[in-house]
Symmetry: C3
Subunit: 327 residues, 3 copies
């Protein structure tokens, strides 16, 4: 892999270089494992000790630690080191990617309905299925084995990872004397621009109207999005999250891995749900919300769990004691 | 999309029409967003206010609200409006579907073993894999990218959504001095009639005998069914549920999204498990069961979670206080 | 299916046969459903009653129950009956498998990049995708519809079930004024020998360095492994587990179904996590750990859950009572 000089790097990405522009960088690495051929970054000032001990050839830092960093060796100063690092990974990806110019834009093994609309600059990977009426926007990439169902639309510059299913039927049935009568799902899925969807994640089509994923949403792997859910712009969800039907989630929310959001409720913008938390009612106020049973050694857990089933009566007993204690 | 008159609609689906049979319907919509070209429904009388304010061209209602509904405009009266609505979605789907008569019954991109048995009216979608000895019943639809493993059988009129894996090996290993020795999974999967299986759901083959899914079972997306599980007829499970090996679940149960059912236990028929609940022991009595840590603002949760780890000792302290308070 | 005599069976698998070597075995079955043509096993002495009542043609037992077992009929005595049974299932699988000698080693429907390295004895199933730079070791089997991403390596004698995605991008973004800037994932995935990976499980590529799965690890279905996770040798995880980025898990651990392990923490070797438990901090001591809200009838749960949100204040009230009660 070819090296790149700090001079070229700063020319492409900006930032103030302190140190020699001729230092060559061959790779990216965390502070603690970087060698003199690597560039690293410090986004959280509390890791300053790692900074001073790092062997990195260059470190990306914020203004507040620039003085300290420069005593160690070359550094690039920028207001947001983590964002700078993100852009650096993108630059690196472009430099080191295999040449894809010979690859077909629609892989010949993909099954694309003649009534689907694929933008000229979109890429459809091997063994994808694009059904009739589906639309894929400019610059959007579907990796291998993605299904995009009938009439489902995905915007520009999206990345859809392998195994994703967009537009399977929502889970809708009417009870009929002990059996279930299917409610055909007549809506579709509409996905905005700059959305990324992780491997094997599923987004169901709506029952009557559409399921909506707004611009800039980021979904990790193995997430389930039920029918008629709406996810606001720039909301991010970690792996294994489940969102039940008709939930409405605001913009700029984050949802931790394994969280479950029940159906027909709404989350305000700026709500942050901890991992593995169950959201069983609407949340109208931005903030951090949690509901996790704390981990414990098994024996302790057993005793506390047993007591938990009597918590209500414990409360009553405290009340009684308080009454008795009143003079 | 062609419109349909209320006269034709009632002729096909039954119900008592109050109002003009000539009103034309072009779509289905919820009460609150329906226009005069839409038909809507009211299944829960507590939403009567939505009914009176709706602009729907016709509303499907139960007998108890027929009088009120008819003051608003045309309505169809039927004992079970939600079931009527389900049948209406099916009628609508048939009317609006793209003509599939030219589509092959087994898509040419599917990989079907010569020793598999596909019923004449079954449909096997693009990029499915049907292994030797597998059987697919009459009228059953496998959407795209479904794997049906060796010797696994699926009955009539089933719908299997994209990405489903039926008949992967159950998770069985014998410990052998710190490493795991594989237990080959010699059973298969048997699925009854009228079963629907959601996208990317997995149903493992049995270890010695078969994993069984009875008639009318409905499974949502991203569900894991372990080896030798038995799911009784007409039981429904929402997304992200996990059922561990050898669990036996009765008929007419419902399991909420993200619930986990441990292995080697049994649930009576008519048991309803709330979302995200962990079933750690058998349940012999029909009813509703729950075990969810309640959501709270993060700061409150932290305090209560810390106290929870001492709940057992709190109980002891209450006991001590009660003894002291005894005269 | 051809029968096999106990003489041949013991010749192949070892163990001490008590009873006639001419008894013919046609199948494997649990003690309670075995017929005289089946062989069964007893691994847990507490099921001795099932042993004495079983109709099995032969039972595999440990030395401590050999005397009892031999009063019932033929038995094979071995130090570890469950391990013996595992090897028997492997023998059975070989005897009863369809002849695969005519099957291609790389299925013609698979999409394999010319720059991928597939060992001579590996098998690549239908509709798999193997990207450039990927490596598959000797004897490793990829069932149908597996994606092995760019530069990802998998060792020898592994089994990868259908729908697995190895090497999708890890979930990494830098916040930038309310939107998310992608951090390109420049690492890959390295998987050791003798690893088994269940259907639709996802293992993400690392951000800078690689995600590592060591030898002998067993992962069930629908598991999410985040970027830069390291899983120690011979650790086993049941279905629906989620492991967030940069978690380091020791060797010989077990993780129950649906458990969530948060990111950037470490578990010592020999840690056992119960199903559906959330691991929110590092665990340095081997042992069993649990955190599950106990299931209850819905009405009881509601009362206790409500009290739980006041647990901290209950603790304060107990403290007050204790002070008042002091003489």
């Amino acid at each position: 892999m070819r090296s790149i000089s700090l001079a070229v790097l700063v020319e492409k990405l900006g930032g103030e270089l302190i140190g020699s522009p001729d230092v060559l960088i061959a790779g990216l690495a965390p502070l603690d494992s970087a060698t003199s051929a690597d560039i690293s970054f410090l986004s959280n000032p509390k890791y300053q000790q790692q900074l001073t001990q790092s062997h990195a050839g260059c470190v990306i830092v914020g203004p507040s630690v620039a003085a300290l960093a420069s005593t160690r060796g070359p550094c690039i100063v920028t207001p947001n080191p983590y964002l700078y690092f993100a852009r650096l990974t993108q630059l690196w990806r472009k430099r080191t990617s295999r040449d894809a110019s010979g690859n077909p834009v629609i892989h010949p093994s993909a099954v694309v309905d003649p009534e689907a609309h694929i933008a000229a600059t979109a890429r459809i990977g091997p063994l994808c299925v694009i059904e009739a009426g589906a639309k894929v926007g400019e610059g959007t990439i579907l990796k291998s084995r993605v299904t995009l169902g009938e009439d489902c639309h995905i915007g520009d510059r999206c990345i859809v990872h392998s195994g994703v299913v967009i537009g399977a039927d929502g889970f809708g049935f009417a009870p009929d004397n002990g059996r279930w009568e299917k409610i055909e799902q007549l809506g579709a899925v509409r996905i905005g621009n700059d959305v990324e969807i992780g491997a094997n994640t599923c987004i169901d089509r709506g029952a009557l109207s559409d399921t909506i994923i707004e611009d800039g949403v980021k979904l990790d792997n193995l997430i389930q999005i039920g029918h008629n859910v709406r996810i606001g712009a720039h909301t991010a969800m970690a792996g294994c999250v489940g969102v039940a039907g008709s939930a409405t989630i605001g913009a700029h929310c984050t949802v931790g891995g394994g969280a479950i959001i029940l159906g027909h409720l709404s989350l305000a913008s700026g709500v942050h749900i901890s991992a593995a938390t169950v959201v069983s009612k609407s949340i109208h106020k931005p903030g951090n919300y949690t509901g996790i049973f704390p981990l414990d050694e098994n024996a302790n857990w057993e005793r506390n769990a047993a007591s938990l089933k009597q918590l209500h009566s414990l409360r009553d007993r405290i009340k009684t004691l308080e009454k008795e204690n009143k003079p």
